[in-house]
Amino acid sequence: MPNLSPFFVTGLAVGAIYALSGVGLVVLYRASGVLNFAYGAIGAVGALLAWQLLQYELPETLAWLAGIGLATLLSLGYGRMVAPHLAYRDTVVKAVATLGFALVLLGFSRWYWSDDPRQFAIPTDTIGVSMLGVRVTVTRMIAFSMTLLITIGVALFLTRTRLGLLMRALANNRDLSALLGIQVLQVETWAWFISGVLAGISGLMLSDLVRLDAIVLTFMVIPAMAAAVVGRLRSLWGTMIGGLLIGVLEAVATPFQVISPYRSVAPFVVAIIVILWLQRRRVITFAGGT
């Protein structure tokens, strides 16, 4: 039995970012009914901009903020300009439309930045602390604690603030909320904003922890979605647990030769099992829907 703790720590950090992305997806899905497939691509474009600015030798903080800012703008842009055209369509059509946005962003970033290998590092990578006999870089600790704090923050925001209340109202019933005089578009815009910020942060962290590559980052949305599925696309805590679980499973399989090449199957297996489990008692209903 190999020593699993270093892999456990790695998995916890990456899993934390899956969870963070998942939280961003869930916040948006609850408020606007859009499951955003472009989430990873938005983060990728933000991270690539940050990398570009670092090449111009701008200060790091500025570059990171610019990356997160661009991700937020992209999210807001889609949310204000494209999403309203599809407001009354099926959930699945809204989700499929974001695939179109993802393709546009992916094509743009691969064309503009070509696919040369490049590196993105946060200075805390080199600082490490020894914990339980394993060296843990500060970046990994930041990833984990940030996810925890942000999830708590978002949960408090949804339950304690007026805007959070409005978002939950929209999640319950959009038409009724609109009848009650809730500014649907305005509340949705906030959801796209929050989700965009989280996409930007996740993009930066993943390009440090995994790889700065447009395709890789774009499809990081799949484990994030798997995490969100564990939370039934509703629960923030479920999403967080799902993300951590997927990250850890994926990493802990690394030292075992037989399953190592197949370890990235973890998010799919977890998601499929959870979906089947959640739907186990459903019979055909006339209402249809999701």
Partner: protein
């Protein structure tokens, strides 16, 4: 809901549904498809370079896979994001059968199709309980899983054992092509014939009992159930048929290239194929044909013109958004509109529509 209201409803979408599979009008429309196709099959291979012949062969193959996606999305409103993965399953089975047995190519193809149909059935089983978003997600997860597994095992290349892998690269075998179609030109014609047969299979389904059942299920499952339609049977049937088409396409692809790389079937391809199917149009056979060309010939065109292939993604993404927001029948629907407009112009010269 009577069958008359069903008819009038679906003709507004630009499709004709008749009670009997063959009428004069349907014969005429089939001839309108068959004659150009035969001309293409006879004339085109002689005019094309090897590069374009390959591009068009794989366009035709992916058109067949797209026909399955279009069937599920257009008939039942189900989003399947696993079609290229299913194509990979078909290719895997076909390669394994081809290297492991002496079966003729047609039987190998059929075997791949049947196994993939069964796999499609298994992937689609959850669809009986869930639809919409969760179905899209579960197919995406299945495609992702397939990507990882086949990336690890690779495709059979003439070795022994269940996986059929050889240890040294020099011992790799190519898949046998059918003896009537050894050359690239002949294989292109062969592919066209098989793809046309696949389209015909879909068309027959559309015009007979399953097509009517699907239309009713699409309208309302409650309606369909109360009208005595076996909802479960016809939904699984659609999934199996889509899987079968993908499997046949996979076998054709394996025969075209000879050997396949496990890394060439990522989940992203399935997503792209779905997107392009919506762009091409899901309500008629023309849509998947356009999809195939967009998926494989359009990138080749960009290569030929020395344009960065990544720009294709931007075009495809924008086209998907455009199709979803303003053109639900896709490019095929828009071409159909233009055609009808032209024929009404020619029909009554100077008159209004």
């Amino acid at each position: 809901m009577t069958s008359r209201s069903l008819n009038s409803d679906s003709t507004t979408q630009g499709e004709s549904m008749t009670r009997w599979p063959v009428t004069v009008a349907s014969l005429r429309s089939m001839a309108g498809v068959a004659i150009p196709l035969i001309l293409v099959a006879i004339i085109l291979p002689g005019l094309l370079s090897a590069f374009w012949l390959r591009a068009l062969t794989s366009s035709a193959i992916f058109a067949l896979a797209a026909a399955g996606v279009a069937l599920l999305y257009g008939r039942l409103g189900l989003v399947s994001l696993a079609q290229v993965a299913l194509l990979g399953v078909g290719a895997w089975v076909a390669l394994r059968l081809s290297h492991g047995t002496d079966l003729p190519f047609e039987l190998v193809l059929l075997g791949g199709g049947i196994v993939t149909g069964l796999v499609g059935l298994i992937v689609g089983l959850p669809a009986l309980r869930m639809r919409g978003l969760y179905l899209a997600l579960i197919t995406l997860m299945a495609a992702g899983g397939f990507q990882v597994i086949v990336g690890g095992t690779g495709f059979p290349d003439g070795g022994s054992g269940f996986l059929g892998r050889v240890t040294s690269a020099s011992a790799r075998l190519l898949m046998e092509r059918p003896f009537v179609a050894q050359s690239d030109e002949a294989y292109f014609r062969y592919v066209l014939v098989v793809v046309a047969a696949g389209f015909l299979l879909v068309e027959i389904h559309r015009r007979t009992r399953p097509g009517r059942a699907w239309a009713l299920i699409r309208k309302s499952e409650a309606c369909a159930l109360s009208a005595g339609v076996n909802v479960t049977l016809y939904q699984t049937w659609a999934f199996t048929l889509a899987g079968f088409l993908a499997g046949i396409a996979g076998g054709l692809l394996a025969g075209s290239v000879g050997q396949l790389d496990g890394r060439n079937f990522p989940a992203s391809s399935s997503i792209l194929l779905f997107a392009l199917t919506v762009v091409g149009g899901v309500y008629s056979w023309l849509g998947p044909a356009i999809t195939g060309l967009l998926y494989r010939a359009f990138p080749s065109l960009l290569i030929a013109w020395n344009i960065d292939g990544n720009l294709a993604f931007i075009v495809f993404g924008a086209a998907l958004l455009h199709a979803l927001i303003t053109a639900p029948a896709g490019i095929a629907g828009q071409l159909g509109d233009v055609g009808r407009w032209l024929s009404s112009r020619i029909g009554r010269r100077g008159g209004t529509r």
